[in-house]
Amino acid sequence: MAGSAVARESLSVLRETIARIEGRPASVLAAADTVSLPALRPQSKAGDNANGNLLSLGLPEFDDPLGGGLPLDGLSEIRSGELRDAGAASGFMLALGVCILARKLGSGRLLWIGETIAGMEAGLPHAAGLADYGLDPAGLLYAAPRRPEDALWLAEAALASGAFAAVILEVRGNPQRFGLTESRRLSLKARSVGRPLLLLRQAGVEEASSALFRFHLRPAPAAARHLPDGSMLGGSIGNPVFHLTLEKSRLPAFSDIFLEWSAHDRQFFLANPHALPATGRSADPGAHFSASSDGPDRAAPMGSVVAFSRAS
């Protein structure tokens, strides 16, 4: 069987060469192999540092199709279909940022570069909300440059400086100034310095870019709040849930996945989209108070109404 072993070796060398040319990490190759051998699939764990340049969420359903996790040395794109989904898209991006911050890269800060128009339409980051969401506001820098060229310059300079754990670039729609050339340039920059660049495309359509992965993100009904006894509080809005579709990938990929972000644990969980919580009013509405106005106990008007006969 020596011949087949030699053949296999030369085959794997060829594969590695191709992977290098394509710019894929070798681990992706390994993962591609394991797809056909599910028994040998490595069990990934959250915060697994064995592979330094992959962000594993600790969920095999998410990590394995990406070859072990989201690459931390390249461009990944997240796209929302409409601007009114901006909350979910930004939320997912920031949650990824929180996961990346746990890796303690650079100065341990995120840089969020948002187009001015996106900030005007979808709102500016709110410190109290970020703190509730699991992100220390001191760990985020927000830039709203006036022109798209400035945004690209900032993104490139921030990546080159190596000061940030991750750079988030938010664009609205599919601007002409940010096409394949620009994304290629940023992607190469990100790869050369080994830091992630997350592209957040609000209200954009699919477009050829040099991102390693592109997700389409849609909002999904939130999980209900947990009660101390383990049951769910009906009608309450708990942890946010995101509906992810992997649109671009070099590997066989999942079609749809629902992820729930727990700000308290700072971790993603798999959500079950079919077990959506009950709608309507809360099961336990709490103490019932009467309405503050238009109640039955209004003070009677003073005096009494007396009918006078007409004067003339």
Binding site: A88, G91, G106, S107, G129, D150, I237
Partner: protein, 468 residues
């Protein structure tokens, strides 16, 4: 209309400042009269003062048509006082200006000599001899005092010097004696420079003017290298730098760059100006080139030198500060912001986007009391929505925001936030915030402004933020 200034030809005819234009025209019908423009004159004088910065940092204005240069300790750089004065006058002549100047140990005497005597250098021992023949008008006195002095026959400074001091002061005021003493250097007269003197400044004079941005940057780095040793000697690092570029035709450009922490590394200072050059690109017209470059440290702070250890990597990572400086130099101080918590329960005041350099302060914000969740993105101004809600204080059932209809599936609330009466006044309406989720799973933060029946205006609904 009166004449304010005359050229040599007009003076030769016999016209005088203060004469009426009609009278002057009667004397010389071909007179060319141009309306005075004080603002432009001032700008021109400022430009000349900028140009004079090449000789000394202490340049002061003198009225509308003069400039004082305090050349104490600078003259030797130009080959002595005489050579300096000649250089100033020669260069101004080549710039097309008719200038007169004098160097002496007292500003008053220089002023008098430049305007009423011969230009040149007056050594201190000669002061009396030079001052005596000057007219009393050379004493910078009010016009009526000059007239009064002339009336009694005191026409020259020498006459005043010979007269007894006490009766002079009694009759013409103490200003006469003060000016006299200032002229002779008996009384000190401060000259107030128009700009503060930089803590440290280094400069480079070029034999051949340079135009290229690359050359300028290279020279700036060289200047910064010279600066480094001076900063090290003071245990300081610069926070604000100013690069002065003297163009050959007399124009002066000042480019200021700030940093977020004290810096003395020439490479970082060079990088700062690299960004500034890119930012001011169109305003910086090199023309025929720059002949002098000067780098000033406008603001210096204590610089804590940190020793690197043997493990190689420095203990302090300065990449973030370097990036902030780079971005600020290019786009201005507000380009990088940090969301910061503030002590307020009104959502738009609870979070501010502070400039990254300013947000470094270790301000401790006390933990907020228990409150409901806040959105991750807050709209700059709440946007009105058409909502259908239970009256008086129920959650909305459906609403229309930006022409899109949303049906509410779940709602949490209300969270009632009263206005800050100490800021907004007592009439400001109360808000009831609801966290709602629509059918597609989008989560929003809506509020109703005002309460039914209890507050004067009819309640309205607003969208204020989006949740993840």
């Amino acid at each position: 209309m009166r004449l304010t200034a005359l050229d040599e030809a007009a003076e030769a005819i016999g016209l005088k400042p203060g004469q009426g234009v009609a009278e002057a025209r009667a004397i010389c019908p071909a007179l060319d009269v141009i309306a005075a423009d004080e603002v432009a004159d001032r700008q021109f004088l400022e430009a000349i003062a900028d140009w004079c910065d090449r000789y000394t940092p202490l340049v002061a204005f003198d009225g509308v048509d003069g400039i004082f240069l305090d050349i104490t300790g600078c003259a030797h750089l130009f080959g002595g006082e005489k050579a300096l004065l000649d250089d100033v006058l020669k260069r101004l002549f080549h710039l097309g200006l008719d200038a007169r100047g004098a160097v002496s140990s007292a500003p008053g005497l220089s002023w008098a000599a430049a305007r009423f005597g011969a230009s040149g250098v007056i050594i201190a021992d000669d002061a009396l001899g030079v001052a005596s023949p000057l007219p009393v008008a050379a004493l910078r006195l009010p016009e009526e005092t000059v007239l009064a002095l002339q009336k009694v026959g005191l026409k020259q400074v020498g006459d005043l010097l010979a007269a007894p001091r006490a009766p002079l002061a009694r009759r013409f005021g103490t200003l006469v004696l003060l000016r006299l003493d200032q002229m002779l250097g008996r009384e000190d007269e401060p000259v107030s420079p128009r700009r503060p003197v930089a803590d440290i400044s280094v400069e480079r004079r070029l034999a051949e003017p340079v135009q290229g941005e690359e050359d300028l940057l290279h020279l700036t780095r060289q200047l910064a290298t010279t600066l480094k040793s001076q900063l090290e000697a003071r245990d300081q690092g610069g926070r604000r730098f100013e690069l002065m570029l003297f163009r050959v035709d007399g124009r002066v450009f000042r480019i200021v760059a700030g940093t977020s922490m004290p810096v003395r590394d020439p490479v970082r200072i060079g990088a700062l100006f690299c960004e500034r050059f890119a930012a001011v690109h169109d305003d910086l017209d090199a023309g025929f080139g720059f002949e002098i470059l000067r780098l000033n440290v406008l603001q210096a702070e204590a610089y804590a030198a940190v020793q690197a250890d043997f493990s190689g990597a420095g203990p302090v990572d300065t990449s973030l500060a370097a990036f902030i400086d780079q971005a600020v130099a290019r786009f201005g101080p507000d380009c990088l912001a940090q969301p910061s918590l503030k002590e307020s329960h009104v959502p738009e005041r609870a979070s501010l986007l502070l400039p990254a350099a300013a947000a470094r302060s270790d301000e401790v914000v006390p933990a907020a009391p228990f409150r409901a969740a806040r959105p991750i993105r807050l709209l700059k101004t709440p946007e009105p929505v058409e909502a259908m809600a239970e009256v008086p204080e129920g959650a909305p059932m459906s609403f229309r925001w930006r022409r899109c209809f949303h049906r509410v599936r779940r709602a949490e609330g209300p969270e009632r936030l009263a206005a800050e009466w100490w800021n907004d006044g007592e009439e400001a309406p109360t808000r009831d915030y609801f966290r709602i989720e629509d059918e597609a799973g989008r989560r929003y933060w809506l509020f109703r402004e005002g309460l039914y029946e209890r507050e004067p205006r009819l309640p309205r609904w607003f969208m204020h933020g989006v949740f993840a």
